[in-house]
């Protein structure tokens, strides 16, 4: 399987001998590293990087996207090579499903259904007493299916998430990572910083997968597609955030792999520093590569491939082959 490369140091990416070289200064010397072009899935850039069009052109030949993050680990943009997997008829169907209210609501509800399933799964796995999340399970969850507009649905989802984030404090027994309230723009404390960073990485992993299929990443159902973002990846992320990122955060904090030392002290601990970022990305990479035996395919698939399968399921739904059912971890 091609690898995701995470560049944390400063340097230069260039094309040489028909492959990609990464050059970086180390103790006054230039250290070169060869990235076999056939073994690159995507590149995530956190350091200061020089890149020229020669390298970009070559990467685009191999359909390799690059995602850029700024100094604080905030997503700044992506280089997506010209899409070769395009399908007009699928695009038409995708738009039709957006325009028809019932179809749109069906998909929006499905995404939230998947999200809530994994939220409850997390709570159960972490042995939270049932009465504490009874409200989510018995009161809010059924409401999801009764909503008629995405706005209504978002409101119910907001309620569920509020309760869920409160319970973070029961799962994470570390006062340094106390969650008062989910604060996004910008995150104001370590736990919010972790969630924000994790989610933004996940968006781009999902975007890379969508990009590899015929789907158009700008047309979405739960989130309104007008925003200047690839909102379909936000839709799919709803399902995968509680499945991939949240358990990762719990284990990193509870095993003390990430402590306050991994945050920028001068910025009120609201940003991960380079070391913390590296630790997080390592764990993230491990989690994406974890495999599980798929019940239908009867073979092992990695968590990353589960994301791709979700895209295929959407395509099947759009072309009227099989109704979309959100992914629910069955183990």
């Amino acid at each position: 399987m091609p690898k995701r490369f995470y560049i944390n140091s400063n340097g230069r990416l260039k094309r040489k001998e028909n492959t990609i070289y990464f050059e970086t200064e180390q103790n006054g010397e230039t250290a070169k590293k060869v990235l076999p072009v056939n073994d690159i899935d995507s590149i995530y850039v956190f350091g200061e990087l020089d890149i020229n069009t020669k390298a970009l052109n070559y990467l685009s030949q191999y359909d390799i996207p690059i995602h850029f993050y700024n100094y604080y680990g905030y997503y700044s943009g992506s280089f997506l090579p010209r899409k070769k997997n395009v399908s007009g008829s699928l695009l038409v169907e995708q738009v039709r499903h957006y325009l028809e209210e019932r179809e749109r609501q069906y998909l929006a509800i499905s995404f939230i259904e998947g999200a809530v399933f994994h939220i409850l799964r997390n709570l159960k796995k972490n042995k939270i007493p049932e009465e504490k999340f009874e409200e989510i399970e018995k009161e809010f969850y059924p409401k999801v299916f009764e909503t008629n507009t995405p706005e209504e649905l978002m409101a119910v989802e907001g309620n569920i998430r509020d309760r869920y984030y409160q319970l973070f404090n029961e799962i994470i027994k570390n006062p340094d990572f106390y969650m008062k309230k989910r604060e996004k723009r910008p995150p104001d404390n370590p736990i919010n910083a972790l969630i924000s960073f994790g989610n933004s990485i996940l968006y781009n992993t999902i975007l890379t997968e969508i990009y590899r299929t015929q789907l158009d990443p700008t047309i979405s159902y739960l989130h309104s597609p007008q925003e200047k973002r690839f909102s379909l990846s936000l839709d799919l992320a709803e399902i995968f955030k509680p499945f991939i990122i949240d358990p990762l955060i719990f284990s990193l904090i509870n095993t003390k792999k990430i402590t306050l030392k991994d945050f920028d002290k001068d910025l009120n601990f609201a940003y991960l520093n380079e070391n913390g970022r590296k630790k997080f990305l390592k764990a993230y990479e491990e989690r994406l590569n974890k495999t599980i035996k798929h019940r239908k395919l009867k073979r092992k698939v990695s968590y990353r491939q589960l994301i791709r399968l979700e895209c295929y399921k959407l395509i099947k739904h759009f072309i009227g082959d099989e109704d979309y059912k959100p992914f629910k971890a069955w183990w």
């Binding site: 399987m1 995701r4 995470y6 492959t19 060869v34 073994d39």
Partner: protein
């Protein structure tokens, strides 16, 4: 699957060509030796490219394959010349 490819090529021009092909698929580990995880399809593609370059009467290429990458254990004595990592 995990592969180790070693090569012994008499002519420098051909040697460089083969090295460049291998570089696009696998990771250099030491002189005349590449290694890495690769799919069967990609390996076949790589071999086809090399096949066109080498002189079959003079050169030799060995390909060691291990189906499950988990079954391989690598020990290094002395210096490790290159370390494969996707965190740069």
């Amino acid at each position: 699957m995990f592969v180790i490819i070693t090569y012994d090529i008499t002519d420098d021009r051909r040697l460089n060509k083969v090295r460049k092909v291998l570089k696009r698929y696998l990771y250099w580990s030491q002189l005349s030796c590449f290694e890495g995880i690769i799919t069967e399809g990609k390996l076949a593609q790589c071999m086809a490219e090399i096949d066109k370059i080498i002189d079959k009467k003079e050169d030799s290429i060995y390909v060691y394959q291990v189906k499950n990458p988990k079954n391989i254990k690598k020990k290094v004595l002395g210096i490790e010349k290159s370390y494969i990592d996707n965190f740069l």
